[in-house]
Amino acid sequence: MFRLLTYREGKKMSKQQQHWEKTRMLLFITLAIWFVFSIGIFFFGAEMEASSIRPLGYPLSYYMTCQGSLGIFVILIFWFANRQEKIDEEFGYTEREDD
């Protein structure tokens, strides 16, 4: 009963639950960015083509398919890996080198 109460107050989640909570949050943010650049913008292919934004002089639609989105994915994965490592560190879940 006591345990149930503290859980409801949300203050005393176990270390593991808090870690998972943060990990999930990071996942949602990562997937949201991923969604925008892999699916979202391609609903607007025609608009991108007509747009006056022309990275390096390429039409925006062309640029996003051959460099833009691809490059963003590379950066996104490294950013995600860094953030996840920080979260793991915060909760003391960093691996030992010899694991």
Binding site: Q16, H19, L27, L31, I39, Y58, I77, F80, R96, D99
Partner: protein
């Protein structure tokens, strides 16, 4: 004698290797100037690189299970990234992709987005968790997480269907390249290709495949980038093509208008004369030429497929830690990005070389007899990859009268642009490396699943190490031969079957894998229903569409994974909720997987 030191010396070893390869290219270039024949240069390139891979394969031989299945879990982050990139980029990426972009433009570039975006899913949803699990194969994870031989068996079935579809295409590609470069008939070349593939994987399993894949990546990336940079500079288009081809893209649009792209339609009778598999330019180069849904559905299938293909996932089992697995996904995508961002540039340069009358290489607008007299035209026409015909009888070559095979864009462009033959030899070696590395990963994924999950875990759990590894090798050879036999029949094209493989993998494995980590309530019954139901629904849709059913939601035979995976998701959730929740031990296991530190779920030797 080789090992501990070997890992520390990797940068030095592969640095020397890269230097040696560049020296080899220069020597070949000198030999060409001295009068060595094109044929001989091609043979040297392919034979030399394949022998090196075989040597690496031999040096990496092993009799330990964790070295055979997961390369001893000591592959450093960056090198695993390179190996994954080679594992990933197949004959389709290397030989066919630029061609697809050349002919279909924007609509086709959905594959570029799909084949890279999928790695975000791999990094965030799966790879680190499966690495923590400590499994040897993907079905190993499914079998342990859900429990029971039925789940394990279902995963092996999906894995085999998807990977086998994929591998026949790759063996086909090695055969095509070997037959052109070594000048032997295709039916024999297929087995030459197979022999080279097996030499890399048989003695050392994953360990051998890892170190040959790194070597293959180095060859294939040099072979892809060198011509792109060279042609761009030769044409005066820009020192760094990726950043500087905007004017060329605009120029192509101008020429398309000038040559009346899409205005003149070829009659059916005219098109009958064109050899099978060749096509002309019918779509504008950089215009948005497809509906958003068509683009997005293809990209979605490729992304989910990426996250479900076992030969990619198992590469992340080889890193020393969970953290390294996560970072390694980033490096993989970086190394893939280097090639993928170059493919559209190659397509642009290739198209402009052929179209622009201001360039010496341009052929559109020239007289037909003049074009037919060009050396490279005659060569590639003989190889059935190029064709011209004067449909309107005016004596000049119009845009709609020139036809080319998709492969020719990568293979023939160096020659068209007037580069020395040594570059064409290099490109052949690169294509061989790309196809071999993927075939190796796939054959190994299938035979490991059969030897570890079926033989060891289900049939004979008490088999000793030596016996397990012999069974693994026998299966490897058998699967290789089965793949080569089917490849020799030449049933499907390379690209089509690769796309199907993604759809199969996505139909059966995507949700069972993801929910295995992210949904504790998922149980064995649900997973089995999801895997088999998804695979059956996807395959049924594919067969129906192939036999004339119009389909729904705009889902085509290239995107049937959407149907399969939705069925899989619904079945998995419904069946899981209708049956008993997983026991406490399983729930604890899932909790344990979510924490990067601590012991792996499965022991070091299992």
């Amino acid at each position: 004698m080789f090992k501990g030191k070997f890992i520390d010396n990797l940068p030095k070893i592969y640095g020397t290797y890269t230097g040696g390869f560049i020296v080899f290219i220069i020597l070949m270039a000198i030999a060409e100037q001295a009068g060595m024949s094109a044929k001989l240069i091609g043979i040297f390139f392919v034979a030399f690189t394949v022998l090196i891979y075989a040597l690496i394969g031999y040096l990496s031989r092993t009799m330990q299970t964790d070295a055979y299945y997961v390369a001893g879990r000591q592959v450093p982050t960056v090198f695993n990234g390179m190996a994954t990139a080679a594992d990933w980029m197949s004959g389709a990426s290397f030989v066919a992709m630029a061609g697809g972009i050349y002919f279909k433009g924007y609509g086709y570039m959905a594959l570029l987005v799909g084949w890279t975006g999928g790695y975000v899913l791999v990094a965030s949803l799966l790879a680190p968790y499966l690495r923590k699990f400590g499994c040897y194969t993907v079905p190993d994870f499914i079998g342990t997480r859900y429990g029971g031989n039925m789940a394990r068996l279902s995963a092996v079935i999906v894995l085999t269907v998807a990977s086998f579809t994929y591998v026949t295409a790759q063996i086909n590609a090695t055969g095509t390249i070997a037959s052109v470069a070594l000048d032997i008939p295709f039916e024999i070349a297929v087995y030459v290709g197979l022999a080279s593939i097996l030499m890399c994987s048989m003695l050392g399993g994953m360990r051998a495949v890892t170190w040959t894949q790194v070597a293959q990546y180095i060859v294939l990336i040099i072979a892809y980038l060198l011509p792109v940079f060279w042609i761009s500079n030769k044409m005066g288009a820009g020192v760094f093509p990726h950043l500087m081809l905007a004017d060329e893209v605009a120029r192509i649009a101008e020429l398309e208008a000038q040559f009346g792209l899409g205005e003149v339609k070829n009659s059916a009778a005219d098109l009958k004369q064109v050899p099978k598999g060749l096509s002309g330019i019918t779509k504008a180069h950089a215009e948005v030429n497809t509906t958003p849904w068509k683009f997005i559905s293809l990209a979605v299938c490729m992304m989910a497929g990426t996250a479900s293909l076992p030969h990619v996932m198992m590469r992340y089992f080889t890193t020393p830690s969970v953290k390294a697995a996560r970072r390694s996904v980033g490096w993989s995508l970086f190394f893939i990005f280097l090639l993928y961002s170059s493919a559209p540039m190659l397509a642009t340069l290739s198209k402009l070389s052929l179209m622009d009358p201001n360039l010496a290489t341009g052929i559109i607008g020239k007289s037909i007899t003049e074009v037919q007299a060009i050396d490279w035209y005659q060569n590639w026409n003989q190889a059935n990859l190029m064709f011209v015909s004067d449909f309107n009888g005016n004596g000049t070559l119009e845009l709609n009268e020139f036809f080319m095979g998709g492969k020719a864009v990568v293979l023939a462009t160096p020659e068209i642009a007037g580069l020395p033959y040594v570059i064409s030899g290099l490109v052949a070696a690169g294509g061989m490396a790309a196809a071999m590395s993927t075939a190796d990963g796939l054959v190994l994924a299938i035979s490991n699943a059969l030897s570890h999950d079926i033989y060891y875990k289900m049939i004979n759990p008490r088999a000793e190490t030596a016996k397990r590894l012999i069974v693994a090798r026998v299966l490897l050879v058998l699967i290789g031969f089965a793949g080569a036999t089917i490849a020799a029949l030449e049933i499907q094209g390379i690209l089509g079957s690769v796309i199907w493989a993604f759809d199969f993998a996505m139909s059966g494995l995507f949700f069972p894998l993801v929910l295995g980590v992210w949904w504790k309530r998922a149980n064995a019954q649900g997973a089995v229903a999801g895997m088999l139901g998804g695979l059956i629904a996807g395959s049924a849709y594919l067969i129906a569409v192939r036999s004339g059913y119009p389909g729904f939601w705009g889902v085509t035979q290239l995107t049937f994974g959407i149907v399969g995976s939705l069925v899989s998701l619904v079945l998995m959730v419904v069946v899981s909720l209708m049956t008993k929740a997983p026991d406490a031990a399983t729930q604890r296991m899932v909790d344990e997987v979510r924490i990067p530190s601590g012991k792996a779920i499965l022991g070091k030797q299992h």
